[in-house]
């Protein structure tokens, strides 16, 4: 006895494959999306630049400003997340405190050997919600893909202070001016910063004044 009408037989395999594919897609989406859509809180000072917060599970490529790296660290850090900094031996700790980064939950790896960069970042991604890292001297595509997969499952954000091939957003910071310093008098009071953010092929520019309303 036949289980299904004979006329549906030729269509059977094709339908089954399509079903399976859609099932696989749904499963994959289920694995990756819950973290993908979530976001990490941004520091109130960056509300203009990141109105919905930092996207979790992606890589940001940031150039031009160490302050911005600290500001991106500060949002999750002041909410009690662990944070990591890799390969920035010159990080100003006092500036981090000004940004309300919690130093007791900050782990520094000042100078990892080039071959251990991926080890250090991967280990910190396991525990930290935001990791700021100087770009590695070289990184294989395979390692980069594995790292990004790990970021997605962990829901952590990596901020690379340099170029990154598959960055979710590229943030270019340009200092447009300083307040307070004259010719032989005064002192630095405020920094004016322009952020050019390229995200999903859309570019937007935001002007910031630091320190703003913290």
């Amino acid at each position: 006895m036949l289980l299904c009408p004979p006329e549906s037989l030729p269509a059977g395999p094709a339908v089954a494959v399509a079903d399976l594919q859609s099932l696989i897609q749904r499963r994959e989406a289920a694995v990756s999306t819950p973290k993908d859509t979530s976001s990490l809180p941004a520091h109130p000072g960056l509300a203009a630049a990141f109105p919905t917060g930092l996207r979790a599970g992606v890589v940001y490529s940031l150039t031009g400003s160490t302050s911005m790296a600290m500001a991106m660290l500060a949002g999750p850090s002041r909410n009690g997340s662990w944070c990591g900094v890799v390969g920035l031996p010159d990080l100003g700790v006092e500036a981090a405190v000004d940004w309300q980064v919690r130093l007791d939950r900050l782990i520094l790896v000042p100078a990892p050997p080039p071959l251990r960069w991926i080890t250090a970042v991967a280990a910190l991604v396991e525990i930290a919600d935001v990791v700021v890292a100087a770009p590695p001297s070289r990184l294989s595509d395979g390692d980069a893909a594995r790292l990004m997969a790990r970021l997605r499952t962990r829901g952590a954000t990596l901020v690379v202070t340099g170029p990154w091939k598959r960055a979710a957003a590229v943030v270019r910071a340009t200092t447009t001016g300083w307040d307070g310093l004259g010719q032989g008098h005064g002192c630095l009071v405020r920094q004016h910063l322009r952020l050019d953010i390229t995200e999903r092929h859309l570019q937007r520019s935001v002007s910031l004044t630091l320190p703003g309303d913290r």
Partner: protein, 536 residues
């Protein structure tokens, strides 16, 4: 009248100096002084011959003997090093009473009964103490602690003095009043009494004992009464045996010596686990240890490790490993040495590894939450693992400290080391010359040499009274490329440790902004310029 106890006193002369020489690896014949609160409290023979005396101010001692090495007086370390000697005495005669490091007493009656005579007991003890590696020990037997102490001071090197029973008062009668100021109780007798007695013409203890006690008591109070009692040969009737501390030491002896780091760790692990087990069983926590490594050549390396939380066995083994690795790479070129390899080899075999808990406290005092906030087990494990791979100082934690230079204000500590507490950080103290405005985001670990030039291209110098030779116009960060300075301010003086180095620390700070709108914090000592930090 109270009958003083018959005392057998062991004296190791110059114990503080000997300990310091041993710990610092100093040759015996080099002048050395130990100071406490700016006053010399002990000095070596060679320093003594140069005119350094106890009680001198450091400045004056250095003036008399310019080659003098000055070290802080560390009674804890002396007591620690004296511990083996106490154990050696206890091997032969039980119930040791510790007067001070270098001076210990036992009751003589039992020992003389057991060994069949005081002289034999003294010889046995002397031989045993010498066998423990104490070069110079002297023993005396007398009635009472004070008499025995004074008798020991009169003994010749490696010999003993026995004051017969009942003869102590006569022995003491011949001693000068000065002994009150030199002995263990010097602090008690340090008032005006000895000087006054000398002025009264009473120069030895016999003359003091001959005075009526009630009048001495009236004139000098309790100090005088005590001095009179001691001079008359009256002393304590019993000795207090020291409480033997519970053995909390993990000691591993290597026979023959071992030169593979991994082997040493593997062999130590059993002892360490026992130690941690003992601590847990006695409901104690330990967050500071002292790890001592003895090498084949006789060298000793000692290091104290502090931990923000209590140590586990794995933490302890890690610290032994790092200490051994430090030893292993001490002689080698360590610039390119990062991380560790399994086959690390020591140039010098290790003969003994000893781990002593330094601060032990009841676990109940450190219930969860009170003892800092220990981070998640997961975090600790992950970061410790990373530290395994990158080396001890590869993973850091940080905090802000006090200081004038920005690099000094940044305190970095390896993960697993306790950060300094608020008092040690000294952030709340006033630091004249601290910077206004936002803190720079990048503080260079090593200040970079730069050049600041005036309009015509000649270097800008800062003269006396902070006068500039020209307006800073060009900034040369490296090589020949120069960029124009668009705004600047300074000089802001940074005056620190002006009493120590005349010229070098007279620094001035400037803030500069260059054409690329980069803001810099630069330092100058008048002619040379450095970039201290960058605002970006």
């Amino acid at each position: 009248m109270r009958f003083p106890v018959r005392v057998l006193m062991v004296w190791c002369p110059g114990w503080p100096i000997r300990t310091a020489q041993l710990a610092q690896g100093q040759p015996v014949d080099e002048p050395l002084a130990l100071v406490s609160k700016g006053i010399v409290v002990a000095c070596s023979e060679s320093a003594l011959s140069e005119g350094v005396t106890i009680g001198l101010r450091v400045r004056q001692a250095q003036h008399r003997c310019p080659d003098l090495t000055v070290l802080p007086h560390d009674p804890d370390q002396e007591a620690r090093v004296f511990e083996p000697v106490l154990r050696a005495i206890e091997d032969r005669v039980p119930g040791v009473h510790l007067l001070q490091p270098g001076l210990a007493a036992v009751r003589a009656s039992g020992a003389s009964r057991f060994y069949g005579g005081e002289q034999i007991a003294v010889d046995v003890l002397l031989e045993h103490v010498h066998a423990q590696g104490v070069a110079d020990a002297r023993i005396s037997v007398a009635d009472g602690l004070f008499a025995a102490e004074q008798a020991a001071y009169t003994a010749l090197p490696g010999e003993s003095v026995i004051v017969p029973v009942g003869e102590s008062a006569r022995f003491l009668a011949g001693l000068s009043i000065d002994v009150f100021e030199a002995g263990v109780d010097a602090a008690f007798f340090s008032g005006r009494m000895p000087g006054l007695l000398r002025k009264l013409g009473i120069r030895d203890l016999g003359a003091l004992a001959a005075l009526p006690r009630a009048q001495v008591h009236n004139r000098f109070g309790v100090t005088g009464l005590r001095a009179h009692q001691l001079a008359s040969g009256e002393d304590v009737p019993t000795l207090v045996a020291r409480a033997v501390p519970r053995e909390l030491i993990a000691r591993t002896v290597f026979e023959p010596s071992c030169d593979q780091v991994e082997n040493v760790i593997a062999l130590c692990s059993k002892e360490i686990e026992q130690l941690v087990g003992t601590l847990v069983d006695s409901a104690l926590v330990c967050n500071e240890i002292r790890c001592r490594v003895h090498a084949d050549s006789g060298a000793m390396q000692e290091r104290v490790w502090r931990h923000p939380w209590q140590f586990t066995a794995a933490d302890l083994l890690d610290r032994i490993r790092w200490q051994l690795q430090d030893l292993a790479i001490q002689g080698l070129d360590k610039l390119d040495h990062r991380g560790w390899s399994d086959d690390e080899c020591l140039s010098d075999g290790v003969t003994l590894v000893e781990v002593t808990p330094e601060s032990v406290d009841a676990a109940a005092h450190h219930a969860e939450g009170l003892w800092g906030d220990r981070p998640d087990e997961h975090v600790v494990r992950t970061v410790t693992q990373l530290q395994h791979q990158l080396g001890y100082d590869g993973v850091l934690t940080c905090t802000v400290g006090g200081g004038r230079l920005l690099n000094e204000r940044r305190i970095l500590r390896p993960w697993g080391d306790a950060l300094p507490d608020a008092r040690e950080r000294r952030t709340e103290q006033p630091w004249p010359g601290s910077l206004p405005g936002p803190a720079p985001a990048a503080v260079f670990t090593q200040a970079r040499v730069i050049e600041v030039l005036a309009e015509a291209g000649e270097p800008v110098t800062v003269g006396s009274r902070d006068a500039l030779s020209g307006t800073p116009t060009w900034l040369c960060l490296s090589g020949t490329h120069r960029s124009r300075i668009t705004a600047w301010a300074g000089p802001w003086p940074v005056r620190q440790r002006w009493w120590r180095t005349a010229k070098q620390q007279q620094l001035s700070r400037f803030q500069l902004i260059d054409e690329q709108t980069q803001a810099w914090l630069v330092l100058t000592d008048g002619s040379q310029w450095w970039a201290e930090a960058r605002y970006d």
